[in-house]
Symmetry: C2
Subunit: 141 residues, 2 copies
């Protein structure tokens, strides 16, 4: 979400030479339409609404392929399952409401900068990072 949904994934797939099968077409539509971070089971469910009969193994395989090509991002939040979202134009991190499961995206240039600073201090360069805030509604006060 917070994603202007630049280009449909299907075009990116074509560019990368992926065969566009009926199953993939639907899966890509579902991904493009998603404004959340669904896991494979949920993706498969959404695919099934548009086109029954697509096997969940196909969804798994497609997600792996898309992730390898960098067209989608893979996340694992605290439930331990693989979740996906179309690769965003601009990096963001996640804030997860532990009560509802809702995921909110945010970006802090300040934090990004401090991370770089820390890595540098130890003589490293950052390959990737993960920042997740597990939160609940602030009560009273």
């Amino acid at each position: 979400m917070t994603k202007p949904k630049h280009e449909p994934l299907i075009d990116l797939c074509r560019q990368r030479g992926l065969r566009i099968t009926g199953q993939r077409r639907v899966i890509l539509q579902v991904l493009d339409a998603a404004d959340d971070h669904p896991n494979v089971e949920e993706l498969h469910r959404r695919v099934g609404e548009r086109e029954p009969g697509v096997n969940i193994a196909t969804v798994y395989r497609t997600m792996n392929k898309l992730a390898d090509l960098g067209l989608i991002e893979r996340h694992i939040f605290d439930d331990g399952r693989l979740r996906y979202e179309p690769a965003p134009d601009e990096h963001h991190d996640h804030l997860i409401n532990v009560d509802t499961g809702e995921v909110i995206e945010f970006r802090s240039d300040e934090i990004e900068r401090l991370q770089e600073e820390i890595a540098q201090k130890y003589g490293f360069e950052i390959v990737s990072h993960k920042l997740e805030l597990y939160v609940r509604l602030r009560k009273k006060r």
Copy 2:
């Protein structure tokens, strides 16, 4: 690591009324001696060096119990397996060398503060958070 290893876990366990069995004694020793973030398989291996015959299910159960009591912390880095460390006196985050697997601990009050700020901005309070920097040695330049 970076842990003054304040009090052996065994005392904390006694305080909490956990029965001190031979297996637990060894497991706790291994945890106290660890200066890294071993997974259960590795813990079981280390336990086996001191006292063969302890079942890995016992290690799993003990880790769950200790984590429930807050005596140890559970982490899941990018390999997806459960890793443990004695609960540190002071919160820290992790920097993981993707080439070697080495884990370095760091703490940034600055980042901690910014996280709070962000959560607050959205009307939430932080329950927990995860910050992991996956890094590699900075080459040349």
